[in-house]
Symmetry: D2
Subunit: 376 residues, 4 copies
């Protein structure tokens, strides 16, 4: 008997579109023991949210998240709003006993993140953090290879997340450039993905040295283009890392790399091999194995589209999938976890751990010193 999970989605912009697509599509490709029902989508703007409901496939719409998260017919609250609203929605939803899926980064600060984790623990509700890139088949395969010992001891993690969309100084002072709404700039938006991948694939981070930079320091106000306001977030952030297991690493997130559109890329070097990944070619994983015959060693382009590859239940080999499927896999994993009463992964604990690293990078950038992170 398949369980039905009734979903309320808060937010209908980019992430709202991506999550809706995932709820619509999952059941046509996977058969987990629970299936989502697209009950209600929620947003502040009446015209916007009603159009979105129709367009994205939701039965109802609402302009009040406070009301929605308390509806008895809702099982799961999906928080896909800017970071400054994650905390209040989460507190209310946890109190109402709802399972929660939350967009990343979990919150705009470590203290908020901790409150959210406390709330879901107190409420005893399932909680999942939408770090969707763990669910790219190639990344999941990387995890399998590392866990299977194919790379040996990990020595290096080298991650960059490069974009170029905010280079123009004409671009107005959007919410993403306002620290109060977004918490940080490239660091939280892009860097948090790298931290999650580093933690997922290598392990806990024990020390960081960070650098933040804002190249365009003032931008036109959205509603008064002739006046400018101050950008209060970073355009670029870099950090050196030391991991608990002895590995060393670096991450860099920037929105000022011309030609890099969504270049979330990493390389991992272990004692027995190396692997590299790049989100702009997300169906591929590059792998070097020291154990290959010596005359024919080399980096191998694995096309991760075989039926025995993680999540690949879509099309025949070589028929590539796109970005949106990472969210479908998130929904699949969440449904499966809820049906089996198991904790989904990644969860809010991962969110808090991630936020600790983000905060340490910010502190380090300010103090110009390495910051150590104690084991919890």
């Amino acid at each position: 008997m398949v369980r039905k999970i009734h979903v309320a989605l808060i937010g209908y912009q980019f992430m709202g579109k991506a999550h809706s697509n995932a709820y619509r599509q999952m059941q046509h490709f996977f058969s987990p023991p629970a299936l989502p029902v697209m009950k209600v989508i929620c947003g502040r703007n009446r015209a916007g949210v009603s159009t979105a409901a129709d367009r994205l496939g939701w039965r109802e719409w609402s302009t009040s998240w406070e009301e929605v998260v308390n509806r008895p017919d809702i099982d799961l609250v999906d928080i896909a709003t800017p970071g400054d609203t994650h905390l209040p929605i989460c507190l209310a939803a946890a109190k109402a006993g709802k399972a929660i899926l939350c967009e990343k980064p979990l919150a705009n600060s470590l203290s908020e993140a901790r409150k959210m984790l406390a709330a879901v623990r107190q409420g005893g509700v399932p909680h999942m953090l939408c770090h969707n890139y763990r669910k790219v088949p190639a990344v999941a395969l990387a995890k399998e290879l590392i866990d299977g010992g194919e790379l040996g001891s990990i020595r290096h993690f080298r991650g960059t997340y490069l974009q170029d969309w905010s280079m123009s100084p004409e671009l107005p002072l959007l919410w993403r450039f306002d620290q109060r709404k977004s918490g940080s700039g490239a660091l939280g938006d892009l860097g948090s993905h790298l931290i999650d991948l580093a933690r997922f694939l290598v392990g806990e981070i024990r020390a960081v040295s960070g650098l933040l930079e804002t190249f365009v320091k003032q931008r036109p106000l959205p509603d008064q283009p002739t006046r400018k306001g101050r950008v209060t977030v970073d355009d670029a952030s870099l950090a050196l890392l030391r991991f608990a297991n002895g590995a060393v690493g670096s991450i860099e997130a920037t929105r000022f790399a011309p030609g890099r559109k969504n270049y979330n890329a990493f390389e991992i070097n272990g004692s027995l091999g190396s692997l590299t990944f790049n989100l702009e070619r997300l169906n591929e994983l590059r792998l070097f194995l020291c154990k290959d015959a010596r005359h024919s060693q080399g980096f191998k382009d694995i096309l991760v589209t075989e039926s025995f590859h993680p999540y690949m239940n879509w099309w025949p080999p070589g028929h590539v999938i796109g970005y949106e499927h990472t969210f479908v896999h998130i929904v699949h994993d969440l449904m499966q976890a809820m049906a089996r009463n198991q904790p989904p992964s990644p969860d809010f604990q991962d969110g808090v751990a991630n936020q600790r690293v983000l905060q340490a990078i910010q502190e380090s950038a300010q103090s110009r010193q390495w910051i150590s992170l104690r084991p919890r």
Copy 2:
């Protein structure tokens, strides 16, 4: 006022799945003036088709295509079955006045294809051929570039469609190895795509010299694995081409290229530039322009994910799409054409032209001579 197009889909295997996904997804990303209604799916096997209806999102199912194509509540018949049934379904649907979308190759022979074209013309019904790779954004961009004169006069087309799924001699004698069911092997299955791309991007083909080869000549019978039957189709097919506009070319389709999963790739050289494409990296187009500054000329990797690129109404730049979207774009173009009472493209005339080339390659392979194709 948006028009509703009620669809009957015949076939529920690989192509049935791909077409169903397209009908489900199209309206969530595009807003053409007509929208499909997923009315009924049809297949011979009662258990199979009923499960598929549920899984793929169809309201009803049926085991009789004869009945379905005559239902008054159906506007569009989508033929996604093996090639030997295209003709009878098409004749019936055309007679019943239905619009028709047909999988490629149009038929198992040129004479069948001509009968189908005659039928849709006589019925006065819209007809579209599902050569979906025309609808890859990168291929559509290639077409724009060529039509805009960026490559100058075209001199060379070099197309290969390489796969490796049928290499094992243990693989049984499926319908795809039976000339009566499939018409031909790699030639019709893969080569027809290359011919379509060549015609779309370069122009009409005027002469061919062909070669067909079957590497595994016998295969186990599906229901009697200890006995073997004869493979009656080609494992690989190659041809040299001369185009009406003076360009020369070659195509090769094979299922015996280890490591090539869905390697539908081509290079085009013109008097002013070159471009290359590979379906395994379908979000990318490589382009060389002679007009670039001489010290910095080179092949350019265009990530075809910008909002101003053809069909790219999905996600932000750099957020790549997958194979399945080509069918969504087919459905979009068909809906738009039907709403506007314009002929969809490609159509059955393209199917007949394609089939003429396929047949000429077969004849040439047999006679060991070039075969010329007269302008129609």
Copy 3:
């Protein structure tokens, strides 16, 4: 005791420069039992050849090859002139008992090539054909892999040699566009390399279907730029191939592919794997092996710079070599063969076999039929 081989080089243009460099450099990297002595360089133009002698490191120069090939102090005659002079120089040198290294293609016609082979056989002199791309370490590694059975039975050879230097219609009617001097155009110049690689790596060719095309049919006369003369060679040549061992293939040589500078590239598919090569990245070989673990199969980029790779006695791993080293390897192999009294490879027999294929492609292009080549 190291034997000294005294060399006379005929020709001082591009190939003269490349061969001279090879004679100069070989002994600094290899230690074969014979070493070349750069005795005399020969050319028609007194000023040109005397400058070249100085520049390229030759002790003496001469304007008479007739005299030079008969000098008693010469052991080896190296023919690096345009194709129309290969035959007379070869006949004289063979008669004089000199070893001969000859640039490719061996001659301007099959009958000439046969005369040359007869002459060296009658003279009992060592003969080598300068198909230098056999000596690229990555190509030699490909040969080792194939001979070692790593690719299984070969099914496909797919070779292209693409350049773009002759696209401009302003380019004058050089000797390369004159059939009497060059024998053919892209076919002999570039296609002969592909044929040699195909024969080296796959085996003998048994049938061909060819196509030749000249895109720019008239060009300015070198000495009278306002007048034009007829181009009597092909700008592009294509052929389908059938090999003696059952493999099928294609080759294409063109000088009309914008952006392709020296793109001598091939792909080979066998029953157990595939490999690809591209001369513009000559330090790399791409290899796919079916025997790799199924979850991590992929095309592998082998950087062919390890000390245990063929010919790699140059620099540490990863320190790449360039085009010119292929000639150094030719000279090395020739010295070794001569010192050991073994036949060098490739030799004039390969040249005749190559010329048979070239001629068959020309005949086929004319007759528009397949041409079969009998085993010798």
Copy 4:
């Protein structure tokens, strides 16, 4: 009238081989107003150096550098020995009034480097530092593009130099693992190249945060393999950088990246474009220009082999060159500078600046704080 520069080369191992090749080859490809004469090669081991003299093309050999640098018939002393001998040789050569070419890093410490700079200034002798990667045609082209403003204001430098040769714990405690002989490990050997490229292409570095790590802490003694000695240098070093012009950056040098053989790679992002380079494909430069037509923007693979590209006086387009040519270009530039009485570049001042960054990284790694570098 061409000036002759009589050279004494100290050192005959890897760098001795590379430098000798450069002296031998330069004049065959370039025609600067001064030419080197390969007078004498010097090394401690009589058998070794006498063999090398013969093999590498030197007229004489010697076991005493003290004697050689004082010979009146020597114009140029080339120091290609391990770092601990650079200072004494340099002091003696400068005192003797010889021009000096020195391998990188200039010295084993900043104070040594300063003494060397003082010595050559006092001696009034020409001095050049052998940072050969500035002389890769693709790197020189990158410099031209940046200086020409094609990339706008530089914001990011991202450099990695990855190798894997020292991963095996069985590898003995060579001089490269001994801080007294080599100064540092990956940092000085590889990192100094990245620092030189960063300074060359972006500008002066004003602050660093560093990290050093030694993965294999003990290694077998070369002469007593059953006993182990302590590794006193870094296996890997990373640093964050701030440049004087406002750009930010990172560098990483490691010998523990399986599959990376000589992966000296960087990416530079400016306000108008980006470029990337990788020494394993040294004939290529990747370039993205924001000014390209928006529908066809992309990273471009420039094959830097055209006659109008820097230093490309070798072969026709597409005929690639190898690693060794970077030294030929160094010798060319040095000869030209000496003949014209101009200072060569890079010189010992670059060496001191480089060493300041190396030392700051070491200090920072120890103090766990950012270190600022004052403008000189």
